[in-house]
């Protein structure tokens, strides 16, 4: 040893004394499921002396494999938020004043019963029960049915229904969180309109994987942030024009014959024959045989045959004579005819999409190259739906993912269908390298479930007889009165929005306020910030909640009950508050019956278990709902003696409730001995088994069942066994959606159930069974010359779905939001960076501070959503930046469109005409320079006072100090 080495050794020894390299981390570890957003990752929670030391990702969990996002890592601050409510509250001041007194739970529950019981006895529709992003619809929807009201939905109509409905009616699955790219094998990936979103951690991990593999990633987004920032190519598409871009790609691929004919013939309805008989009652429907099977033309036998048979030779191209002598034309022929038209050519769409024709042509060429020249072959033998063994799995490695930027437009349903059309033409659905279903999907397209709530379904004192939400397949499935008017308070499943599969929560307050179609008595909401960022037209929504009938002096919406864990803006607008727990204090489930957390390689579900003791006088909302059900004597919640069927509350319900024989909230460890999965008798020890397995259940599919799920015998049999689908028939992907044509035929005067005259034109125009594109202004009528700019919002990665910005750590990342504008817009208006601007829509005006950026479409301005908070809410200081510099675009967005003369002066929701999806990305604005004198955003609202029981906000946080002292 040299002297120097000796000295180094001595120094190292000295260093070692200066730091404890192996401190104790925790004295207890509990696993549970994160709830800081909709991603629902597995988390490993470290506790010391019963307090939170550290939350990390669970490396064994199928969703996140150990990683954790900013929100999940800030769970400690969410749990310790001073905005937590601590006891039930009863309004004592005027509604909206925020003046409450604390009451006991018994009083709170009995007060609710005093409102709810008479409604149920007289007219259950007078309860409107709407929940937010709670992800417990398997329970809340069932509870609403038991109560007997059809007026139930959750946040989906605001958020994702265009994706869900377009997907489920087309391919029996969906982007959203119900499918994912084959990150491992994909060679070309296009992502449309996704900032931070559902499936957020898997997307981040997947993008890294793609880049490692050298696959090309194209981001289609008006804004270059987050995921789009790392794309190989960024397409700054003009908002609302994505569908036109996609159909131009379809045009190019068809022109070049670059489509997967074998896939189309085998797995889609491309060969199905459509009746061509203008004026006939069945024009545009599928030609069928006597048993109702669709027909196609067998080019070998030269005859119309059952299109569902195996080993036939379907023709995709020839117009033929049907057995009844009429003309029939294959779906593929119809679509080729349509999209080969010059109106879909790249030159024709360039201006509207904001992209050059050359760029569109090159993207199409690249798609074709990746799909057909770089095909992926996996040497995994499998058996197709008809029992034919295949030696390999051969895939077209082109994947697409899409979400918010497609969904939140009035053309979102048809745009999303266009995306699925493109995928089907490329043969890239559930193949190696393509888009993959996550079980329990695929389901039949569409699923067979129909909404309950027709006039005869609603009977006082009686359950509804079915779920309130479903998938209408024609006029006979609508919920309409004899005069064609809506049955539901939100007008879902009416002629206004026939395929509104997630309901239309965004219309409830406006409709209840105007009594359209009838007044309600009680509005009951959970985790839905409808007096702030979860409403369009926020300013007037607040006014509707406080408006009184001038004659009676009573509120137009007589009773409002709200459940929330935090002092959100909406609390001030309720009469009775049920304070909820945080996600670390309660049992919960992520159910296959609602929104599971499966990945493409297998189904998964999960639970939450309480990891912390509840020290406030609050109760988990799910327990409260069960308690109310027992007090009301709802049939599913009480036994024959009237006693609680689930006396152990929500965990008892989770383990023991059966929706159908053998089907319950959780799929894992069913049966008395816990050996059954998917279906099976209730297992009293089921929750213990989940806890032993780190609070999740995941069943990895056999390799032979992992692709071609829609036509894979092993998968289809598995899915039947697990209870995901009713039968093992293959799922035929629908390029042409017949249900749309049924509505359209009704609008043309076919059948007994026809739309009121005022709706005929809209239905004729928008309900095209093949995807179409129309500008959002075709629905909302905004004049582009008056409002030349698009205005959209995005949720930042560190905040998305994180239930408010009261979180002390996350709010340091996004304390206030700016209005982002391009240099071109800034120059034209003379607005400087950091300057202030007015943004004006047809509906209102806001004032905000500007940031100039390069990475934005020239005709678009944007901001981060839901950073702005109302002064006083969330227990933030009255002058917090969220209130003074933060703002919402929502004030500018109409909830109802202006009265329409064609509509008899009526007002329709600002929504997709097919699904009722809130069209909050269709906002058109103009911008002008504003004085900076006040340097405060507008509109401003009165500061809300703090309710009783909310602890004072600390002036300094030293979280973790006591753990450090133990060192």
């Amino acid at each position: 040893m040299t002297i120097a080495e000796d000295a180094a050794g001595a120094d190292a020894a000295k260093d070692a004394e200066r730091v404890d390299l192996s401190p104790e981390v925790s004295d207890e570890i509990k696993y549970t499921t994160c709830y800081m957003c909709a991603c629902r990752c597995g988390i490993k929670v470290h506790l010391r002396d019963g307090e939170l030391r550290y939350i990390e990702g669970n490396k064994n969990h199928p969703v996140n494999r150990g990683v954790l996002c900013a929100k999940g890592s800030a769970g400690i601050m969410q749990h310790h938020s001073p905005a937590r409510l601590s006891q039930p509250l009863l309004r004592v001041g005027e509604r909206g004043s925020g003046e409450f007194k604390a009451i006991e739970w018994e009083e709170a529950l009995e007060l609710a019963i005093s409102w709810l019981a008479p409604i149920r006895a007289e007219d259950p529709r007078k309860l409107a029960f709407f929940t937010g992003r709670d992800q417990s619809q398997a329970l809340t929807g069932w509870w609403a049915s038991q109560f007997g009201t059809p007026n139930h939905a959750a946040h989906g109509g605001f958020c994702s229904v265009n994706m869900a409905a377009a997907g489920l009616y087309s391919i029996g699955g969906s982007f959203w969180e119900f499918g994912e790219p084959d990150w491992e094998h994909c060679r070309y990936f296009m992502m449309f309109g996704v900032a931070e979103d559902h499936d957020s951690n898997p997307i981040k991990t997947g993008l890294a994987k793609l880049k490692e593999n050298g696959a090309k990633y194209v981001a289609v987004n008006p804004v270059r942030t987050g995921y789009a920032a790392i794309a190989d190519q960024w397409l700054a598409v003009t908002p609302g024009s994505d569908g036109l871009l996609v159909l131009a790609l379809v045009h190019e691929l068809l022109r070049a014959g670059k489509v997967d004919l074998d896939y189309l013939a085998r797995y889609t309805n491309a060969p199905w024959l459509v009746i061509e008989d203008p004026g006939a009652d069945d024009d545009g429907l599928f030609a069928r045989d006597g048993d109702g099977n669709p027909l196609c033309w067998d080019s070998t036998r030269n005859a119309a045959v059952n299109a569902l048979e195996a080993d036939i030779a379907p023709s995709l191209k020839d117009r033929v004579t049907l057995p009844d002598g009429r003309a029939g034309v294959p779906v593929f022929h119809l679509l080729a005819e349509r999209y080969l038209d010059g109106q879909y050519g790249p030159d024709a769409v360039a201006d509207q999409t904001g992209l050059s024709a050359e760029t569109i042509r090159t993207i199409a060429a690249e798609l074709a190259h990746a799909a057909f020249e770089e095909e992926v072959v996996l040497d995994i033998p499998w058996t197709d739906w008809a029992g034919r063994r295949q030696e390999q799995m051969i895939g077209r490695p082109v994947a697409i993912h899409a979400m918010r930027g497609i969904s939140a437009h009035a053309n979102g349903f048809q745009t999303c269908r266009s995306l699925h059309l493109l995928q089907m033409l490329l043969g890239s659905i559930d193949v190696p390298g393509g888009f993959r279903y996550k079980p329990p999907f695929p389901k039949p397209a569409p699923p067979g479930l129909k909404p309950a709530g027709k006039p005869g379904d609603v009977v006082p004192g009686t359950p509804l007889g079915g779920p309130p939400l479903g998938f209408p397949q024609g006029p006979e499935d609508l919920l309409v009165e004899a005069d064609g008017g809506p049955c539901r308070i939100d007008h879902a499943f009416s002629w206004e929005a026939p395929m509104s599969a997630h309901g239309m929560m965004h219309t409830v307050i406006a409709n209840a306020h105007r009594g359209d179609p009838y007044p309600v008595d009680t509005l009951f909401m959970y985790m839905a910030n409808m007096a702030w960022n979860s409403s369009m037209n926020t300013t007037e929504t607040m006014a509707m909640l406080t408006d009184k009938d001038p004659d009676s002096g009573e509120y137009k919406i007589p009773h409002i009950i709200y459940a929330d864990a935090f002092y959100s803006e909406t609390v001030a607008y309720a009469d009775l508050i049920f304070p909820d727990t945080t996600y670390l204090e309660r049992w919960d489930c992520v159910s296959m019956l609602d929104r599971p957390i499966s990945n493409a390689d297998g189904p998964a579900d999960a639970i939450r278990q309480p990891v912390l003791e509840t020290l406030r006088d609050v109760r988990p909302f799910q327990d409260v709902l069960l308690d109310l059900g027992v007090r009301l004597g709802l049939p599913g919640l009480v036994d024959d003696t009237g006693a609680a069927r689930y006396p152990g509350g929500y965990p008892d319900y989770l383990a023991n409730h059966e929706r159908a024989p053998g089907v319950g909230s959780l799929a894992g460890w069913r049966g008395a001995d816990g050996e059954d999965h998917g279906t099976g008798a209730p297992n009293p020890n089921q929750l213990d088994r989940y806890i032993e397995n780190e609070c999740f259940w995941y069943d990895e599919l056999a390799p032979e069942a992992r692709y071609f799920k829609h036509g894979n015998r092993a998968y289809l049999d598995y899915a039947v066994k697990m209870g995901f689908i009713g039968h093992g028939d293959p799922i035929v992907l629908q390029l042409y959606t017949e249900a749309l044509q049924r509505f359209r035929l009704a609008a043309r005067g076919v059948g007994e159930l026809q739309p009121p005259d005022k709706h005929r034109k809209r239905i004729e125009r928008f309900f095209d069974p093949l995807p179409i594109w129309y500008p959002p202004s075709a629905v909302d009528g905004t004049a582009a010359e008056d409002y030349p700019l698009h205005a959209i919002s995005q949720r930042p990665a560190a905040m998305y779905h994180s239930w408010g910005s009261q979180n002390a750590w996350l709010r340091q990342i996004h304390t206030a939001n700016r209005l982002y504008i391009s240099e071109a817009v800034a120059k034209e208006q003379g607005i400087e960076d950091d300057g202030w601007a007015y943004l004006e829509s047809r509906h209102g005006r806001i004032k905000a501070q500007v940031r100039i950026m390069a990475g934005v479409n020239d005709h678009t301005v944007w901001t981060w959503n839901a950073i702005g908070k109302r002064s006083g809410a969330w227990n933030l200081a009255a002058d917090a930046p969220e209130a003074q510099k933060g703002f919402l675009l929502n004030h500018l967005i109409e909830d109802l469109l202006p009265p329409d003369s064609q509509n008899g002066g009526g007002r329709l929701a600002n929504a997709d005409p097919i699904t009722g999806q809130a069209a909050w990305f269709d906002l058109r604005v103009r911008i002008s320079k504003a004085p900076a004198d006040a340097a405060i955003t507008e509109p401003e609202f009165k500061t809300l006072p703090l309710p009783p029981g909310v602890r004072p906000r600390p002036t300094i946080l030293r979280y973790g100090a006591r753990f450090g002292e133990d060192r």
Binding site: D15, E56, V67, T205, P271, G964
Partner: protein
């Protein structure tokens, strides 16, 4: 003033940060905050946490900015960059040599730069000396704090072996952060740096930072397709509409 180790450390621990895949999600920053507020530097206080002038101690911060023009990587007309920033654990760390008390020191064994709070008098000379802005002053505690590379995780026998990594590395959803010994040519960090042309920040200062940043990869291409490529019309072999469908298909 404080001395650096007399000879280079046998291990050179540090991070590789991949600017090709960082989407600016702040997962690393918040998980760092969460671990370290109850770890070696407990607490990392937040002042006015629910008020107007909220501020806090963060040992890792993510900055976002835009570049214009061709700066390499994907888009020739500029790019949005997310740039995570924390201590780079320099070999010639000026923050150590300026320390009047010996509180700042560089570990002989692995090169990690630490602050021993008991010896720190809060004079802030180190933060003035650091050209990377990597130090964080805790005004509440009156002491300087900084990235420790999770010194209380990476050797911690109370953690599973695969968890002995800095919190930011374990949390990163985009797998854009890697930890290891740059002196070991077989380590992931050394290999990534070699393969992807990892760079040190501001090398002209001569401080020999340990951490490396991987620049954006060249944009991926499909086949050998040139800009402006487009598809040819389908050959109409069969004649008529959709004449290119000239073979019998089977279901």
């Amino acid at each position: 003033m404080t001395s650096l180790p007399k000879s280079p450390s046998p291990k050179r621990l540090g991070l590789v940060i991949d600017l090709d895949t960082c989407v600016g999600c702040h997962a690393c920053a918040v998980n760092c905050k969460e671990w370290n507020t109850a770890g070696y530097h407990a607490p990392l206080p937040d002042t006015d946490p629910y008020g107007k002038d909220v501020d806090g101690v963060w040992l890792n911060r993510v900055h976002g900015f835009e570049t214009t023009g061709d700066t390499g990587g994907n888009n020739k007309d500029g790019r949005t960059v997310y740039f995570p920033r924390s201590c780079l654990h320099c070999e010639d760390a000026p923050c150590v040599t300026v320390c009047p008390t010996g509180a700042s020191y560089k570990r002989t064994e692995d090169g990690i730069v630490l602050v021993e709070e008991d010896k720190c008098i809060g004079c802030k000379l180190c933060s003035w000396a650091c050209p990377y802005g990597a130090r964080e002053f805790d005004s509440d505690g009156g002491v300087m704090k900084k990235c420790t590379l999770c010194i209380d995780r990476i050797y911690n026998e109370n953690l599973d072996a695969d968890e002995r990594q800095p919190a930011c590395v374990n949390a990163c959803p985009a797998r854009a952060r890697h930890f290891g010994d740059f002196n070991d040519p077989n380590s992931a960090v050394a290999k990534l740096t070699a393969a992807r042309g990892g760079v040190e920040l501001m090398p002209e200062l001569g401080l020999k930072p340990t951490n490396r940043y991987l620049p954006p990869r060249p944009a991926a291409t499909v086949g050998a397709m040139a800009d402006g490529a487009s598809l040819d019309d389908a050959p109409t072999t069969g004649g008529g509409f959709l004449g290119w469908i000239d073979r019998t298909l089977s279901r």
